[in-house]
């Protein structure tokens, strides 16, 4: 028997329609709108019905969003329901991620760590802490896919640690270590490529910088940067942040690899490829060198990058 809904619930549900293209990198506006609607339901503890039927395209980052949202609802015991994508390929992709298995059979509690393993080599991890050992393990597996042998990729490890540390330190305005980060890793064996999607549902880079109190290092730095470069456009400000201008402003010293500029530097030094980012109202994509201001705000930070054959690496056992 084909089930047309995840399950039947007697509680009234708020329907949230997923975008036709559930892909953060290619369709950031609609994915931001979708997440904002889900977030509103989550914050108000409203049971939700996710309308997935009309999804025509989904990528690993879209799956990361769905998985993480579903676990957050389930962990808080807020009913989460929906229908299946009509498109058989999309349906299959979601099935391969074990999204439905986790939805039906996993019992999530509000815990520090989640580890979701899907078929077809999609692995999702969620934590509050910085886990460098996990990073090392993920890179070992990723390098097997890319080069056919375990290698060390220090640019990827720095990227992972800086992102985890950022979520731990800056994602919540109330206290450090409150928010989870979510990381999905997709192995594309035939293309010798591994795709990384990292997301946190914190406040986002610009909101976090705006909210720094006087005692904090970054207090006033964003306003100073805006005045210095005569801009209020967050897309332009992200370009300045990537180039280390915010760090120079805050410390009065040259930037040396911290946080987001460190990730951008890993891209410039060919340690990672195809970097994309969405935070608050800004979208960045390295392939098109596009910095765009979005109409819809994303309260959080999403980063996507890839590891491929062209990237630099070191032997596993030096």
């Amino acid at each position: 028997m084909i089930r047309h809904r995840f399950e039947h619930l007697p509680i009234p549900l708020t329907t949230v329609r997923a975008p036709h293209h559930l892909n953060f990198v290619r369709n950031p506006e609609e994915v931001c709108r979708f997440i904002a609607q889900l977030r509103e339901c989550f914050d108000k503890r409203k049971p939700v019905f996710v309308h997935l039927k009309d999804v025509e395209e989904i990528d690993y980052d879209g799956i990361t969003v769905l998985l993480s949202v579903m676990v957050r609802f389930r962990a808080k015991k807020i009913p989460f329901n929906g229908n299946f994508p009509r498109d058989p390929e999309i349906h299959q992709l979601l099935k391969d991620s074990d999204f439905f298995d986790h939805l039906y059979y996993s019992d999530f509690s509000d815990t520090d760590t989640y580890e979701l393993t899907g078929k077809n080599s999609i692995l999702t991890h969620a934590m509050r802490r910085v886990d460098s050992v996990l990073g090392e393990r993920i890179i070992k597996a990723a390098s097997q896919t890319v080069w056919g042998e375990p290698r060390r990729c220090r640019g990827v490890q720095r990227t992972l640690i800086e992102l985890m540390q950022n979520t731990n330190n800056h994602a919540s305005l109330e206290r450090e270590g409150e928010k989870h980060w979510w990381l999905s890793v997709k192995h594309l064996q035939e293309e010798n490529r591994v795709a990384f999607s990292f997301v946190d549902y914190g406040v986002g880079v610009f909101q976090s910088l705006k909210s720094k109190t006087q005692s904090k290092k970054w207090f006033g730095a964003l306003d100073y940067l805006k005045a210095l470069f005569s801009t209020t456009d967050n897309a332009e400000l992200l370009r300045l942040i990537f180039n280390g201008e915010l760090h120079k402003t805050a410390s009065g010293k040259p930037y040396r690899g911290k946080g987001l500029p460190g990730i951008y530097e890993a891209l410039l030094k060919n340690k990672i490829s195809n970097l994309s980012m969405v935070t608050n109202d800004v979208f960045f994509n390295s392939e098109s060198n596009e910095y765009r201001t979005l109409l819809n705000n994303f309260e959080g930070t999403f980063i996507y990058w890839e590891l491929c054959l062209d990237n630099s690496s070191l032997p596993y056992a030096p």
């Binding site: 910085v130 886990d131 731990n168």
Partner: protein, 122 residues
């Protein structure tokens, strides 16, 4: 007169971990705070006592976050009250895999020294 200098070696990968982590212990395993307190500082004190030189080898790890490096080496000045002059006389770094890390670490130490001097004057 012959001055004999014995080189002491601290290899982060084999003496601490291949996966250095965050800044503080409270943020995750293998932090810069724990490395400095439990591994680096005792070796450094030993080197100072023996009037020796401690070489820290940065190779062989999965990679470093910036906070780990800052807390480990900048922290020697900020938390353990050593001076940059003392550290420059006793501490050497070695990295064939990522030599730019040495510049990065030296800058963290210089920044921490500037802060220390600023605070001492205040």
């Amino acid at each position: 007169m012959i001055i004999q200098v014995f080189l002491m070696l601290l290899n982060i990968a084999s003496d601490f971990t291949t996966a250095p982590g965050p800044r503080y212990d409270s943020e995750g395993k293998f932090s810069g705070e724990v490395f400095r307190r439990d591994v680096l500082l005792p070796k450094l004190n030993e080197a100072l006592q023996k009037k020796d030189v401690l070489t820290v080898c940065l190779d062989g790890t999965a990679g470093y976050g910036t906070s780990f490096l800052e807390e480990s080496f900048g922290g020697l000045i900020r938390e353990d009250k050593l001076t940059l002059a003392t550290l420059n006389s006793v501490l050497k770094f070695e990295s064939e895999e990522e030599p730019e890390l040495i510049t990065e670490i030296r800058e963290y130490m210089t920044d921490a020294e500037s802060e220390r001097i600023k605070e001492a004057k205040a």
